[in-house]
Point group: C2
Chain length 170, copies 2
Amino acid sequence: MDLKDYIRDIPNFPKEGILFKDITPLWQNKVSFKESIQLLKERYKNQHIDLIIAAESRGFIVGAALANALEIGFIPVRKPGKLPYKTISASYELEYGTDTLTMHEDAISEKQNILIIDDLLATGGTAKAMAKMVEQLKGIVVEIAFIVELTFLNGRNKINDYNVFSLIQY
Amino acid sequence: MDLKDYIRDIPNFPKEGILFKDITPLWQNKVSFKESIQLLKERYKNQHIDLIIAAESRGFIVGAALANALEIGFIPVRKPGKLPYKTISASYELEYGTDTLTMHEDAISEKQNILIIDDLLATGGTAKAMAKMVEQLKGIVVEIAFIVELTFLNGRNKINDYNVFSLIQY
């Protein structure tokens, strides 16, 4: 099956001039949802991954489904003020200004193998912030994986210290 | 195993006087994460569920993992302005004021069997808003399921038109 058949183009979202890649049809269809997780599971099942981390909100969908499929733990990365326990944080650049992500400080132990997951690779800022937090807790970033990669935004350049993988490229 | 062993009490979060039940340790531990999804999978695997719907952000973690385990589709419910395609919406009451959730208008087809999932049943407002949207799209709410139920908040009263299930009660 071609997973691209389940990605929907939405013109002018979230603002004029942007062609948004809507992944929700891929998750809505039981065959494409299963296939996307299965492909990732096959790739990572023998790589001794200890934990998956993913950022809210859409990252949770693919990250939690894959973590359960691999029978490993899942760590949520959230906006500031959302996680209840003690946190670490990392900032990343937006078009104008910066944004910050947080993770519980006891989420990862030293030398654990971490897979970072997100639904979409655009500029790579979110992924890089997650990788920085993993390393701050002395975890090992095994790979950073995405459902969809927007290659024309060159997000890989920002995370070229790491292995990067995506299921679908535009 | 007792899943309660993986729920952490956080005093005074998100504000003074609230004892917050932190579910992240349950997801971080591979055994408790797997067990929680397995228990829900056993309950629903023969109930002909077509789709799971869940609200951002924490609801996505349990909803997507369970949908993948059941090999069915997953529908995200989000805050206004977050979903890119045409949406329907439902509002619910907060302590002060109201809040609104949205769902894609093509997320559910008539007579599909829907399982509503969330991590926590508190006052039941979010769950009721989700149920209203399912019915607006002529879907059938088979059940509303939670990882944790705060029974002292009587959230079941607000959703007593539906079957309600929770894995852990306080």
